[in-house]
Amino acid sequence: MTIVFYTASAVAIIATILMLTRANAVHALLDLIVSLLAVAVIFFVLGAPFVAALEVIIYAGAIMVLFVFVVMLLNLGEPATRAERALLRPSMWIVPSVFAAILLAEFIWLLVSGDVPPSAVAGIEAKETGMALFGQYLIGVELASMLLLGGLVAAYHLGWRKVPQTEATHVSHP
Amino acid sequence: MILLCLIVIPLIAGGLAWAVARWSVAACRWITLLAVTADLILALVLWGSHSPAGSGTWLAEADWEWIPQAGIRFHLAVDGLSLLLLMLTFFLGVLSVLASWREITEAVGFFHFNLLWILAGIAGVFLAVDLFLFYFAWELMLVPMYFLIAIWGHENRVYAAVKFFIFTQLSGLLMLVAILALVFTHHSATGAYSFEYGDLLGTAMSSVAEMWMMLGFFVAFAVKLPAIVLHTWLPDAHTEAPTAGSVILAGLLLKTGAYGMLRFVLPLFPHASATFAPVAMILGVAGILYGALLAFGQTDLKRLVAYTSVSHLGFVLLGIFVWNPLALQGAVMTMICHGISTGALFILVGALQDRIHTREMDRMGGIWSTAPRLSGAALFFALASLGLPGLGDFVGEFLVLLGAYQQSIVIAALAAIGVLFATFYALQFVQRAFQGPNTFNWRIPDLVPREGLVMAVMIIALLWLGLYPRPVLNTFEPVMTRIEQMAPGR
């Protein structure tokens, strides 16, 4: 169990690092999906099989597909990748990495200095989760639906294009 | 009810004047004049009907609930001191309306609106005995003043207006903090929220707290007064303001600072004030000398007069913190007379600027030969400014000095040297502007009857105050006695 956990963790982290350093968007997306799948394994280890499944289905599945669609729509191609590579100079990484390293260091320092938290013995079944979801979190589910509605309307409005000539007049505005 | 009218009449008339100006500029001016005159008459009626040996603290009072949540009341009251200052307010109000009768041609309605609202604000300051209301009025008078300077001012008006606004607002906020601190101190002692002046008097507090609160009030009033170091907004504001603005600034707004010291700083924080008094006195004397020196150095007439205000108000500050009957009454007397004499000087300089379109003394000279009445009036008020006996300013300054001598010989002597310095700038003013050869061949009309009337009234007032000031002195004497008795150890 422990070995699985650590392996999955290592995979998640390495895949994420790879994703961050890719110039080609599609490659990066694939790395990200690997990372997400690794996280799904971790969830499984943590005794949360329901969210592990959702992670695979929705996150790695649906959401990433959305990304892929957009990449395709934009038709970025090889020139974009080259341009992107040009931007990936090592110096770009220094400051963010320092920041993040401090953040992580602070965080880990805290975790290590604290007491070891008690560990649960049993996992949580999908049923339990479902009960909670449609029990005390019912309103939350409704709100999440409104959230998706809002996202839908916004994405619809922003992504929708009119006939080209009226568009041209708008674009000409500074 | 009269007290409320004193504030409400200008407020309403202000709105009316603004509205009417759309159709008739003359009507707007007349409405303004009538409103201020009405207030002046009301104030005079109050003065006439009061009995100097009155029993209570206040001669008249009006009290309504306002924000009971915080113990804030709409409480107006008047005693001898505030009554006199109210009369001065509306007296100068009338004169400044007359003085700007022809000067203002743009946005006349808005101008008179602002003028009236300033007067209402000042009246509110002098009338309020609820600290919140006081602060309210205190801030309220700034805004129209700001507009007066910023819209109808001269070349550098924006800079001056902004500087004025920021100085006074910032210091006012410090006072607000002090007011609240006082209220909470009072609250923790009694369990009741109250902004009442009467309730807050004698609030028990630690000496450190008292000192800080006192400083909060002091800074606000010292900026208005203005005490040296905090004075630099004044020359700019006075110089750039239109005539009416300068008159009200010098004649009234500065007095609100002194009034605040007398009404709040000393009575509310007697011990801290006593501890602080030497510093304040030194500030006063430094102001007297520094103001006089700078006035001597100026070539811009309005700037010159502005610095004389710094100098004269130094006497007021000195007199207040000397804190004995002579000096206190001298300080109040100086306030009143300075209002008239400096107001008159600003009117004259305004009239002159109107005619020759400059305030630079280097561009003047020999005005006397073409406008003798104007020049003569200027001479008169210059003499009042240098403290000539027989004119009002002398009485005040002499009393301050006499009182100051009982505190400290050195301070009195230095302040007396300040009077000597006054001679320098006053004579320089007369000499360079009005006497000497008429190098630039000015040919200008002399004072018109309207202006002549204004000058005559002011001259008579100063002579009266200089030769027979008793009625005035007696009006505020009980108040000063009370304040004097609040000094610790007395």
């Binding site: 998640a12 994420t16 949360a48 400051v95 963010p96 938290p117 909670a132 998706l148 | -």
Partner: protein, 100 residues
């Protein structure tokens, strides 16, 4: 026995990587991906916390995060499309006009 502390550490590490991505990448697509990493890490932290207390609440929160990520990404990608259409680039530095 679930590795709770390690779980927090891993989620923290992933979160940090997401932060690095947002700070370092100029391509908007990568920025959005990095945000996904961050959100995922936060969701993972919830799951870990839920596991610690043996409660379903952590997982419910993960679901909500999932919904939010979906909404977020859809709007974000719509903006990416529009942006690319107007500016012909996804470089966040290049699209910046407002400053000061």
């Amino acid at each position: 026995m679930f590795p709770i502390r390690e779980g927090f550490m891993i989620s923290g590490a992933l979160f940090t990587l997401g932060v690095i991505g947002v700070l370092a990448r100029r391509n908007l697509l990568f920025v959005l991906m990095s945000i996904e990493v961050m959100l995922n890490a936060a969701g993972m932290a919830f799951v870990v916390a839920g596991a610690r207390w043996r409660q379903p609440d952590g997982q419910v929160m993960f679901l909500f995060i999932l919904a939010m990520a979906a909404a977020e990404v859809s709007v974000g990608l719509a903006l990416v499309l529009e942006l690319y259409h107007q500016f012909k680039t996804l470089d966040t530095d290049a699209i910046s006009r407002m400053r000061g």
